[in-house]
Symmetry: C2
Subunit: 150 residues, 2 copies
Amino acid sequence: MSNFDVVTPDNPEPALVAEWRDLLARHAAASCALDRELGERHDLGMSEFEVLERLVEWPPGCGPRRLQDLGPTVHLSQSALSRLIGRLVKAGLVERAVCESDRRGIFVVATTAGRKRYEEARPLHREVLARHLAGPVGRPEAGPVDRPES
Amino acid sequence: MSNFDVVTPDNPEPALVAEWRDLLARHAAASCALDRELGERHDLGMSEFEVLERLVEWPPGCGPRRLQDLGPTVHLSQSALSRLIGRLVKAGLVERAVCESDRRGIFVVATTAGRKRYEEARPLHREVLARHLAGPVGRPEAGPVDRPES
DNA sequence: GCGCATCAGATGCAAGCGAATTTAATGTGC
DNA sequence: GCACATTAAATTCGCTTGCATCTGATGCGC
């Protein structure tokens, strides 16, 4: 029951933990800032933006996008995704359509308003990313980092 | 209202977005696995483990740890942290003590049981980290990656 | 056609979160 | 001492999440 590991050059554990904490810090800073800024200025949460982006990115000619295909790319559970789509539908940014070839599935398509909202929000999204992602953690180039706890 | 940016070598945006998605994927995979495995085998959530680790790591001789000092290091809001400590107290892993010099504050100290639980859980924590963190995303060395949506 | 396993998505539910508010202890001006 | 701003932590509230379950559509064996 030793309190600390012996730190030797061939013990990769400290590096692993440092990497993990760095990842946590970056994720917290960026996702928190995204949620707040996108929310304030474009009424979109981070996850909403991500989903909208996948829909807009979806190459035409591949057919419309099944809800199921969306899941793995946004790291959300099936239920969370279903409700997220519900919110986007209510906001008029996205439309559901039954899939005629398999009536269990549904298609999800961004509306014109959805594409517009995405295009409006994207610059801010990229800006926040640039502010929090590039460079070592805790060193946004301009403006204060906003963290939930401070 | 162009749908896509022109991708030029001096346009850093695509790299930024790729970095962001990689970060999201790693974070989702690792934190989800940590939550589930630590929860199943040691009855600890990811955040509980992180807090416990900060308390155990806290060098002796620096005085006990204020709840407030804990906040910034675990990326949790003040309210979330307060409740998290409440859960740990209820589980007997941690103790609250009023700070006599400033009776508004409280000290948080890991109990013997808390240290024990932490030491038991740490190997699994490191193992999960190694499985999900090292190397490119989506390539754990052994065993399937468990993601919430799959 | 009929029964049944399977699959896509929606929904009930409990847990955790952040923002805002509340409670109580400090400190400051007078 | 007394009013008032400030601070630390707890608590209230609404929202999002994941798990488990439900509903309805497929499709396969017979």
